[in-house]
């Protein structure tokens, strides 16, 4: 069952690669949160109850409700145009994300590990690199934030793979997730959106050597 959920998660990445509207990204992020909720529920069977509840709450409340709602609020508040404005055409994005997934699959062949479900490894690394790819190829600053959230989801999937043996690492991952998201979103809400009206990365190029 966890496999089905993880593969669905992988498919959302392809969808993200060709999505045009920013709201689609927000919805996919929320959906990924829900998927992670169920993965946690199935995967972390050996963990103590209180800790499990904490992790479940983090996925369902923080990842799939709070962050998407907040992102949607930011989009409205800063009147950000709804197109994602990628630097590359969608078709090429799709090819690149496919390449990322294929390469991580090939890399996973080197794993001879009984402790780890390979699928977790593939999904985690693909998500990580897709997130980085989204950051690198989208023009708006808000899409950088969304790309970062994708990276965080990838990190979370990986921490689940070792979650039963080391619950502490999952908790640390959650701490990172909340800490970094609040910091980044907080700065964005308070400042970036107000000062840089048209929120393009092109505007963030005033710090120069000359």
């Amino acid at each position: 069952m966890a496999d089905v959920l993880l593969i669905t998660f992988l498919i959302t990445l392809f969808y993200m690669a060709i999505a045009n509207r920013l709201m689609t990204y927000v919805k996919v992020l929320a959906f990924q949160g829900v998927l992670l909720f169920f993965v946690v529920f199935i995967q972390l069977s050996e963990i103590n109850l209180l800790n499990l509840v904490l992790i479940l709450l983090e996925t369902i409340i923080f990842k799939s409700v709070a962050v998407p709602v907040f992102l949607a609020y930011l989009l409205r508040r800063n009147q950000i145009t709804r197109e994602a404005e990628p630097f590359l055409p969608n078709f090429i994005s799709l090819l690149i994300v496919t390449a990322i997934v294929v390469v991580t699959f090939l890399l996973s062949n080197y794993i001879h590990d009984t402790h780890l479900d390979k699928l977790f490894f593939v999904v985690a690394l693909s998500t990580l690199f897709t997130g980085l790819y989204l950051i690198a190829t989208r023009r708006k600053i808000i899409t950088h934030v969304m790309g970062y959230m994708v990276v965080e989801n990838g990190v979370f999937v990986l921490s689940l793979a070792v979650g039963n043996e080391m619950p502490m690492l999952v908790n640390l991952g959650i701490m990172l997730d909340i800490f970094a998201s609040v910091l980044i979103l907080g700065i964005f809400l308070n400042k970036i959106g107000d000062v840089f009206r048209d929120v393009d990365v092109d505007q963030l190029s005033n710090l120069k050597d000359i």
Binding site: H144, Y148, N206, L207
Partner: protein, 474 residues
């Protein structure tokens, strides 16, 4: 004891954030410096003991902690001067000093942490406090710098976390779940190489944001440029050392595995590229602060080359980061006085500084000689040892490459510094002479002298401590 120190420091910083009284703010900051030094002395008297579960007072941690406490004194002094001169509001003064206290505390605790996850947590805290310092001016440039810094650092701490996850997978083979440095060290023979490779790639890449190496060095440059001078001094010296601690302690573990050579190649390549990038930027940079920051990238590249070369290079690397912290912070402290005279960061608007402020000009000149490792600079000794270690490791090609790049850096750095000191400004009139009083340069002279003293006449205890910090390496 570390826990008590952390709680006290946190309380003091909370006091600074809430306090609106000018005198009380400086009083609390002074109090914190006393606590910091008391803690440093305590660590010195309890060397080689574990404390508060997650901290060990080892030689490397202690050496860097002393460096931090030494740099913290002038940093606080110059921060006070800076605040007074800029007529800050009580709120922005509180945020600045409070963040400074949190930053210093987190860096110190990160040095002493004996568990990789704890180092990681304190690195996160430094990102938070540093971003408050970088955003101090609250203008568009500061915002841009802060945003880039926070974003890159958030990405890189995620990277470190992924690395820690891979490391835990690697540790499974040893049948252990304890990620403390000592346990990793003890089990280094049974770590799984595949996971360890991935762990090294991610952890090293993540820490380069703090250490200031390729690929994540850019965030640090913008941060040091936009942060106020005294805060930039901390970012450019002791915070880089925190990144070094993370990489170095992990390197100590990896050096005992079959991956030693591979890790050496990867790290050496990143280090060499850093020196190359620093040289490329140094040639065209016109912004004084960024020039100092790029010089830091060059030095960290040299340090990592020393670590990779091994042998006497380990000793040289530790010596080099300590001396670099003193020299680079003194240059950043001096920068604010420079800015006061010319009201610009650009070299094109600067010139004739020797006539305007002889004391400050002497700091720049000596700082340049120190950073360029020209005798009588103490860094000459460490840099020479690094070159010797490269030679002994038969890394002739990197050695020649680095020597060429250093010549270029020396030329670019020297040209800019001498232009500031002796030539008239290129694009502006000579400003009216209104230098800062000469005593404000005193702390810089002391730091530079300290670097010379430690380089040429290191006391026995100091040498022993450095030897001890590298004793775990093969």
């Amino acid at each position: 004891m570390t826990l008590i120190y952390l709680i006290v420091a946190l309380g003091l910083s909370a006091g600074l954030f809430l306090n609106r009284n000018r005198r009380a703010a400086y009083l609390i900051t002074t109090l914190f410096l006393l606590v910091q030094w008391a803690f440093t002395l305590y660590v010195g008297f309890h060397l080689r003991t574990a404390d508060s579960l997650y901290f060990t007072y080892d030689a490397l941690g202690f050496l860097l902690l002393v460096t931090l406490s030494v740099v913290a004194l002038p940093a606080a002094l110059h921060s006070a001067l800076y605040i007074e001169r800029h007529q800050e509001t009580s709120a922005s003064r509180g945020i600045y000093l409070g963040s400074l206290v949190v930053l210093i505390t987190a860096i110190g605790a990160g040095y002493l942490a004996n568990h990789i996850a704890v180092v990681w947590i304190f690195t996160e805290i430094t990102t938070l406090s540093a971003s408050a310092l970088i955003y101090h001016h609250r203008n568009k440039l500061a915002l841009e710098g802060t945003w880039k810094y926070v974003f890159i650092c958030a990405l890189s701490i995620s990277f470190v976390f992924i690395g820690i996850l891979f490391l835990s997978l690697s540790l499974h083979y040893a049948g252990s779940t304890d990620l403390s440095w000592a346990n990793l060290q003890a089990n280094s023979a049974s770590l799984d190489p595949f996971w360890l490779k991935l762990a090294w790639l991610f952890i090293f890449t993540g820490f380069t944001a703090k250490l200031g190496l390729v690929p994540m060095f850019t965030a640090g440059i913008d941060a040091k440029d936009t942060a106020p001078g005294p805060a930039g001094a901390l970012l450019a010296s002791v915070l880089m050392n925190l990144g070094f601690v993370g990489v170095f302690r992990f390197y100590t573990v990896v050096a005992h595995t079959s991956l030693h050579h591979w890790v050496g190649v990867v790290t050496g390549a990143a280090a060499f590229l850093s020196v190359f990038v620093a040289a490329a930027y140094m040639i065209r940079v016109r912004n004084v602060k960024r020039m100092f920051a790029y010089s830091g990238v060059e030095h960290m590249g040299l340090v990592m080359l020393g670590v990779v070369a091994g042998g006497v290079g380990y000793y040289a690397a530790i010596l080099h980061i300590i001396l670099h912290a003193f020299v680079k912070s003194s240059l950043f402290f001096q920068y604010n006085q420079l800015y006061r005279v010319y009201q610009s960061k650009s070299i094109s608007y600067m010139g004739g500084y020797f006539r305007i402020a002889p004391a400050g000009a002497l700091v720049l000149l000596l700082g340049f000689l120190s950073a360029a490792a020209i005798p009588p600079s103490g860094m000459f000794v460490s840099e020479w040892l690094i070159f010797r270690s490269l030679l002994e490791a038969r890394l002739i090609l990197p050695l020649v490459g680095v020597a060429l790049l250093l010549t270029m850096i020396l030329w670019a750095f020297g040209r800019n510094i001498f232009r500031i000191l002796f030539l008239p400004p290129a694009m502006a009139e000579m400003p009216p002479a209104s230098p800062a009083p000469a005593w404000e340069s005193a702390s810089q002279f002391i730091l530079l002298a300290l670097a010379v003293y430690l380089g040429f006449f290191p006391p026995d205890g100091f040498v022993d401590l450095i030897r001890e910090s590298v004793s775990l390496l093969p």
